[in-house]
Symmetry: C2
Subunit: 245 residues, 2 copies
Amino acid sequence: MPARAPKPHAKDRDTIWQQIATTLRAEIAAGTPPPGGRLPSEAALAARFAVNRHTVRQGLGALAREGLIQIAQGRGSFVAEDVLDYAIGPRTRFSEWIRRHNREPGGQVLRLIEIRAEASVARGLDVAEGSPVILLERLGLADGRPVSLTTHHFPAALGAGLLDALRDQPGISAALAAIGIADYRRQVSRVTARPPTAEEAALLRIPRSRPLLVAENVNVDAAGRVVEFGLARYPTPRVQLVFEP
Amino acid sequence: MPARAPKPHAKDRDTIWQQIATTLRAEIAAGTPPPGGRLPSEAALAARFAVNRHTVRQGLGALAREGLIQIAQGRGSFVAEDVLDYAIGPRTRFSEWIRRHNREPGGQVLRLIEIRAEASVARGLDVAEGSPVILLERLGLADGRPVSLTTHHFPAALGAGLLDALRDQPGISAALAAIGIADYRRQVSRVTARPPTAEEAALLRIPRSRPLLVAENVNVDAAGRVVEFGLARYPTPRVQLVFEP
DNA sequence: ATGCATTTGTTCGTATGTATG
DNA sequence: GCATACATACGAACAAATGCA
């Protein structure tokens, strides 16, 4: 005989595992644990709700099928990240992207200097190796959380005041407009993924186990001249790239 | 005075390090080591060619400047991956993609069954949860090397003979054509990246440290009806996604 | 490299309430 | 009332994956 008779479930009420799912759903919606955070172990939840571990698993399984959490053997259950969709279009601008998600755009300039083009940059910008280029490195924020780490290269030949414009203007579009480039568009993006360096992981606030999405972009002006060649790094799975051909 | 006088090299012949570079270049072209593979250590190469390690380093440096190999301190030298550019367009087809790179397309079906749609699939296919869907899992090969692992979902309601068509026809386009869907196009792709599972790493023959590019695709027919919802996984850095808006 | 602790995944068995015929 | 099938719930044990010292 078992130590305690199993509680029957009334037919007009939710089952125990449904109640557990409802409770956890509400708590996750309230932010505990936050997106990306870990739920207590199944054993801990079983103790908290005073039920068998199987019953907890039923509830967690429901949340996982809904996509609200992800369960990983040996690691635990994790609240799904709230994904920022980055639409790769010919005219995507950082601040517009963030605002479209009802987040507060922000950013900080990490580096802004003039250097000589090395081989890969020269090829991307279609200028001679060793030509003067302006390098801008920037950390993009949405609601204060890092969502992008971008390195931009501009040919210094674009205009004498570019370095100053980039320093004074809040965004790249504004800086280019200030030196007379009213419009530009994305010509091509090459996307791959790799583990972050220690520095990248620290700046983007992700564990080193999460890969980065890496996009190599070429932007051209109305005349087809290359005005920017850049490397954008996005933390996964916080950011997702979306292409609508 | 040195123990042994340095051998002069005849001016009309390659230097020793150039000969070494030439030898290694030929061997790499022949596939040993294969792309992504590790070359013997500098010490081992020095022993093999009966030269000083510095001489080997000269040769390896030349190959690295060519981009044929990558040298990583403390790890070794590795043959560069031959990157396959996957152009994400509205009508990209697997076999065309591979052939455009002058590779031999191939593939093997891992699974082909009818199941019930779970939440995420139902959302992607725009059908009710639990609806019958056909699942096709396929490993894509280029010259016998794995380049993609794709899971396709088709609404069973598309046509009664779809399962048989997918079994009998060599490709997806052909199977869809066989049940009367002459044309379809990619409506949207959502791209992210994550570490591979043990199974994915084994199938795609990559170490678990290399992330996968993961693309979620929705394909629609001429009338805008969703005919396929799929998840494509590509090994990095063997495959790169290219978008030309 | 190895073992250990933690956590999820799976499979036994047992018991009870609900629905069906 | 009874037999049956099914979902729910509990208990125990072991397997498999992961992270860490």
